[in-house]
Amino acid sequence: MRDTSAQSAAYRRETSEKVALLKHAPPEGFLRKYVFSLDHKVIGKQYLDLALAAVVTGMVLSWLMRFHLAFPNAAVPGLGKLAPNAAAGGIMTPELYLSLMTMHGTLMVFFVLTTAPFAGFGNFVLPIQVGAEDMAFPRFNMMSFWVTFLAFMVLIAAFFVPEGPPLSGWTAYAPLSALGKDAGPGQGTGQTLWAVSIALFCVGQLLGALNFIATTLDLRTKGMTLSRMPFSTWAWFITSVIGLIAFSVLLPACVLLLLDRLAGTSFFIPAGLVVSDKLQPHAGGSPLLWQHLFWFFGHPEVYIAILPGFGIISHILPVFARKPLLGPKVFLACLIAIAFLSYTVWGHHMFLSGMNPLSATLFSVPTLIITIPATIVTLLWIGTLYGARLRFTTAACSVLDSYRCS
């Protein structure tokens, strides 16, 4: 797949010259260097720091949940002072447990699993791997981090509203999430803040995905054709394409949810619901619509989380095995097949949701088919080990353990 035509070479030179003109001057001052930086390496590190803060918060929440599961009626030391309403006397109320679960899930899936492998490592490594000076749109890049950071702060703010954080799970099924505070404690302002946070997060990730795609397609250095790109670059590129479509669906879903909660619309709420003895003034909506929109995002989301990992471990192991990956073109074809098929399987999160049971059959088939490229990928990794001379460094052991878990 070597691209040697003079025309495209000229195009590439011209593009990188254009980017050179747009390039930012070296930053001066602490804020420009470390806070509002346009440099992809700083932004990558900022994303990783954000993911670290999110993972530590999520971990503390999980400790509280585990403590409650182990000792259901015991008082958690200090919790009574921290949450006098939700845990009077330190004893965890059911709504506090569910909000911990919701916030733990949201923090971990969105702010750790999506930011760290994709935006964190990708921002740092991808431009270096393709030989570009920076990402294609450095200002978009900075904006995407700060919008994600704002989303994180809005989510954390949900802990501090009087009624507490939402309790509808990270999947926020309607109508529980759409009805407002009648549906339960935490479903007032807390749920609204959740929806705002996720909508902002989508905006940040869309900006990031655009950046990755533009950088990968336009800013490869001379001589790096697509087929010569490292596997991790490919993985980030494919992840960006998945993310562009998936987050484009979650963003309007969150907007519709906010409209239902704040503007009295009924996208997700049917007529005749009686919640807490109050007849709800909505009509005409469908709870299944939320599920479809959410899982159309939600399934590709899990591939967004894992594909950068596939790319990274396919990149690392050949170094320590001292031989190239078995079947590189097959590997790439499988990644693309997985990405494509990930859009056809969302209904497997909804088998019993009340949609036509025939559709369960229709969704089962691609769900099973997607195992074929995934199996091929795993077998290619194991096949790479055949005849190798493995050096067991920490990196190599980590990668081998990923093979085991795959």
């Binding site: 009805l179 195992t371 194991i382 353990d401």
Partner: protein
């Protein structure tokens, strides 16, 4: 280091496979007519995936053991055939497994969810609300009264919003907090939700179905043993979701008839 890793992988594989094969923690006893199909599908899936799991993990362990660098400078080898055997193996073997599981599974699924219920099935209306299930039997006239959400009055046992004053079909409806059913008879439940999404799950019957507000969803089954089992809600519905359950009592026919008479007297 590599050898240690290989040993650990092999040990984990053997232990986890053993746990499944010996069925230490397995499904509860099946008490439904169609449950046997579900159990067979489960076993077949576990076996086919389990075999591939064990084989691939042991091969991984073997390769890691075998191909660590021993400092002897031996030549690096490529897997014979390159990527082609992997593609073929995955496509053919996994493909075959997929085809078989799909065909058998579709039949089982259709039997439960896509088949028409027995026309003589006992109809029971189920309402899920935050945070309890209530069950309604049609009573002597065999008809269900109309539901009026604005008349719902939980403090006075009018959970469904019936209007006995103006609706004659509602007067003999029997409302109960437990699901009593006769054994070995087809049952047709119609599920509707009062407020948010809930679900109906009886593990022993091998059926589960979400309640969707705005929809009335039919669910049919036949219970084959006289037991009392728990119905749990498996769709997060708010703070009381953990405590949302009802009891299903499968009774011999004559006991069920007596139970209906007792309930009718109490309405």
């Amino acid at each position: 280091m590599g050898k240690l890793f290989a040993v650990i992988v092999a040990v984990i594989t053997v232990i986890s496979a053993t746990i499944f094969m010996t069925r230490i923690w397995w499904l509860p006893t099946d008490i439904s007519v169609l449950g046997v199909g579900i159990d067979r599908q489960m076993s077949e899936t576990m076996i086919s995936a389990g075999v591939l799991f064990v084989v691939s993990q042991l091969v991984l362990a073997l390769f890691v053991w075998q191909y660590g660098d021993r400092g002897d400078g031996r030549p690096i080898k490529i897997f014979p055939g390159g990527a082609a055997p992997m593609v073929l193996f995955a496509t053919i073997l996994v493909g075959a497994e997929i085809v078989v599981l799909s065909l058998v599974g579709t039949k089982v699924w259709a039997g439960i969810f896509l088949s028409a219920p027995d026309p003589k099935a006992l109809r029971i209306d189920v309402q899920a609300e935050q945070f309890a299930f209530y069950f309604r039997y049609p009573g002597r006239d065999g008809k269900f009264g109309t539901l009026h959400p604005d008349l719902i009055d939980d403090g006075n046992n009018n959970f469904f919003g019936l209007d006995p004053a103006n609706d004659t079909t509602a007067r003999d409806d029997i409302v109960s907090a437990s699901l009593a059913i006769p054994v070995n008879q087809p049952i047709l439940l119609t599920l509707h939700a009062k407020d948010v999404g809930h679900a109906f799950y009886v593990p022993e019957l091998r059926i589960q179905q979400d309640f969707v507000p705005g929809l009335v969803i039919p669910l049919h089954f036949t219970a084959t043993k006289v037991v009392k089992k728990e119905i749990v809600c498996t769709q997060l519905c708010g703070l009381g979701h953990y405590n949302m359950r009802a009891y299903m009592e499968v009774m011999p026919e004559n006991q069920f008839v007596q139970w209906m008479e007792d309930q009718a007297a109490q309405q």
